[in-house]
Amino acid sequence: MRKIVFLLLMILCVSSFAAVTELTQFESQAQRQQFVNLTKQLRCLVCQNEDLYDSNAKLAADLRRQVAQKIRQGQTDAQIKAYLVARYGDFVLYSPTFNQTNLLLWFGPFAFLLIGVWWLLRTIVKQTKEDSA
């Protein structure tokens, strides 16, 4: 049963790799840019490996319509993201939020780099000391 469900979810994504065709009208270039940038950071819930901008799933089209409408109303990225998170959870955000859960995710890489460089320096200094001793 489970298999059928996901097979069908896949079928919904069938023509998803086609270019998205409905056209959204905006009053200004800035709004259009906001729309593109924002929808590229949102994850489609049906075809889960596409962003909202490129997905051809029906739901993605509906959500794009809503996002476009909110942009025309002058809402900010944060407001629109909050609207979607309230409905679909953090899963819709391709860029994870900066919070306690994701602390390791955001600081990890730089912490690892510091540890790595520290380890390298220590090893080199230690072996030069051994030499001179």
Binding site: T21, L23, G89, D90, N102, P109, D131
Partner: protein, 644 residues
């Protein structure tokens, strides 16, 4: 009959692998040369039987033998012969058979090109590889048998190959990628053999180095072609998505790149031996992890095969054994390793190790980002996504020091150097790079941004340091011919990195894109180019129908190209695929992708992507660098006898 023979071939190979994994190892322990001598012929035997099994599956596809379930599910009578052959690795079972075949090809290659090595080492290496072979042969036979029959209810026509795979890229991408993935098993086996024998001197590094470089070349080629394929294929011009499966192939590449550099230090300077062993173990462990991620379905991905807990369960147990045992051996043996070659803080060694630190951290970062959602979910802390915006923002900063140091490192002396003299050597290059950083935006691009400035500086820096180093070293040694292939390989690969980085940054920040609705005869301008929809004509292929939109591209009234963007409907599984039309030139691509009809008009996406070709050109330059270093006399596989 043939598929049964193929199946039987796999069973025989499993038996041989078992013998090869045990008897010669016992021989190495007991110093029995007759048992040791068995290991080569056992290795060739495994290769022959697996190769035969692979061949029978190819024949089943070519002859449309739809009594075989795997063939019936992944091929079709109308499918062209070329794709019928490629369809062998179009789904899980067959691609796993390809994986195993590739592993056996590496086993046979090691058996063939190891005449100059001590027999004990060869026997240990081949035993370790035979153990890996046993694991994958069992996985194939017990969970993913491609030879199962559909009798008595054979299919008449077959279900067809997944349309997204019906592209020439399928012929090259998976085989080369697997050659790379699996190729790291050789370095792994050498490291394990060295750990077993307690012979962790510089020799194992010298032996493992050509194999590592060869595997790295294949992996570089596989990743480059995969990215190029998705660019052409997916219809919206993306070339890298930070998809879990892409990351799975990128992880061993990152560590493999580190490994190549650290093998150089270990071999030349007899130092950082434990670290190099760990990298060799990690590279293949990450290949295994990647295989697990792709085939268990634990992560959502565009590529993922079906989610099957039986397969995931088997693979994870196998990984626990292989990686667990190797890391256990490492924990046991590595503490006794001491470094002999001493070096100071400012030295070539330090730069090479900094490279290692950066690449290892990059690997950990990508690994963490890939697995983070899974771990958070299992800890019951919710469900999150980690996608391209995250990876771009943490990965790119890590690459800045990589590029800078790739330029500086080769100018530094081995053992010790002086800050002043190092600066003295590169000061004009530094000045020139700054000049280019300012001049290029002023003269050519006419825009300025921080990203562009940093990119231009780093790329000029890397290119100029390499060219200057080449000039200086040639002068020192008395001519360009006096420099060895390994040195040219380094220069080429580093230039490749510069070219690739330039392509990535410029194409992603300066692409223009238009989403338009076009009637017949409509024109639209993208950059300096005018795109006119000339005609929409029906299309008929062997197993699909569709339409072609003919688009005329002009620039200031002059003809540039006729582009035929297609939409293909695959008859068998009613799948629609967008076939983008691309006009290629070295400095920009024009990319037209056909959408759906809107009334009497058609939706279309048109892109102008500057320097996108540089991404793959850079990848291939790195690949050629790797290939060139294989030609270096010092690493020749066959004729390095005189040195030992």
């Amino acid at each position: 009959m043939l598929p049964e023979l193929g199946h039987f071939g796999l069973i025989l190979a499993l038996v041989l692998a078992f013998i090869s994994a045990t008897i010669p190892l016992y021989g190495a322990w007991r110093d029995n040369p007759r048992l040791l001598a068995l290991s080569r012929s056992l290795s060739f035997g495994q290769f022959i039987f697996v190769g035969f099994a692979f061949l029978t599956l190819v024949i089943a596809f070519v002859t449309n033998d739809f009594t075989v379930r795997y063939v019936a599910e992944n091929s079709n009578r109308a499918l062209p012969l070329f794709y019928r052959v490629c369809a062998v690795w179009g789904a899980h079972e067959g691609s796993l058979l390809l994986w195993v075949t590739v592993l056996n090809a590496w086993i046979a290659a090691v058996a063939l090109f190891s005449r100059s090595l001590p027999m004990k080492t060869v026997a240990r290496v081949l035993s370790v590889m035979a153990m890996i072979n046993m694991g994958f042969l069992s996985f194939l036979l017990f969970t993913s048998d491609p030879f199962l029959r559909l009798l008595p209810f054979a299919a008449r026509v077959g279900r067809d190959l997944n349309p997204i795979l019906q592209d020439p890229g399928l012929a090259m991408h998976p085989p080369t990628l697997y050659m790379g993935y699996v190729g790291f098993s050789v370095a792994f086996a050498f490291a394990m053999a060295a750990l077993m024998g307690g012979e962790l001197d510089a020799r194992w590094a010298r032996w493992a180095r050509p194999w590592t470089i060869a595997a790295w070349c294949f992996l570089t080629c596989g990743i480059t072609m995969g990215s190029w394929w998705s660019y052409r294929q997916l219809g919206w011009g993306g070339w890298w998505f930070w998809d879990p499966v892409e990351n799975a192939s990128f992880l061993p590449w990152l560590v493999g790149t580190g490994l190549m550099h650290s093998l150089a230090v270990t071999e030349k300077r007899n130092t950082f031996k434990a670290w190099t062993v760990l990298l060799a173990l990690s590279a293949f462990s990450l290949s295994l992890l990647g295989t697990f991620l792709v085939r268990s379905g634990v992560l959502t991905s565009v590529h993922a095969f079906a989610n099957d807990p039986a397969r995931g369960g088997f693979l994870i147990k196998f990984i626990v054994i292989v990686v667990g045992v190797s890391l256990f051996m490492y924990a046991l043996r590595a503490p006794v390793l001491t470094s002999e070659g001493r070096f100071e803080l400012l030295s070539r060694e330090t730069f090479l190790l900094l490279n290692n630190v950066l690449f290892f951290v990059a690997m950990i970062t990508v690994l963490m980002g890939t697995l983070y959602p899974l771990i958070i979910q299992l800890l019951g802390m919710g469900k999150i996504s980690v996608g391209p915006p995250y990876f771009d923002s943490v990965f790119v900063p890590l690459m800045i020091p990589v590029i800078f140091l790739a330029g500086l490192g080769p100018h530094c002396q081995w053992k010790s150097d002086k800050v002043v003299s190092l600066f003295h050597r590169v000061r004009w290059v530094l000045v020139l790079s700054f000049a280019l950083m300012v001049l290029i935006p002023l003269v050519a691009v006419k825009t300025f941004s921080l990203v562009l400035a940093v990119t231009l500086f780093l790329v000029s820096w890397l290119v100029l340091t390499m060219l200057y180093d080449l000039y200086a070293k040639a002068k020192l040694r008395g001519g360009y011919r006096a420099l060895n292939a390994g040195y040219y390989a380094m220069v080429l690969a580093h230039l490749g990195l510069a070219v690739c980085a330039l392509g990535i940054i410029v194409s992603s920040s300066y692409s223009t894109e238009k989403n338009v609705k076009m009637h017949l005869g409509d024109s639209v301008n993208v950059g300096q180019y005018t795109f006119t929809l000339k005609s929409i004509v029906p299309l008929k292929g062997p197993n699909y129908t569709g339409v072609t939109a003919n688009v005329l591209v002009t620039k200031a009234g002059e003809f540039i190209a006729n582009l035929g963007a297609q939409k293909r409907n695959f008859t068998r599984d009613r799948y629609t695929k967008t076939q983008a039309a691309i006009h290629v030139s070295p400095f920009r691509d024009l990319y037209v992708s056909l959408g759906n009809p809107i009334g009497t008009a058609w939706g279309m996406r048109i892109y102008n992507k500057p320097l996108i070709r540089f991404i793959w050109a850079g990848g291939f330059l790195m690949l050629f660098g790797g290939l060139l270093s294989l030609l270096d006399r010092r690493y020749r596989l066959i004729s390095n006898t005189q040195e030992y």
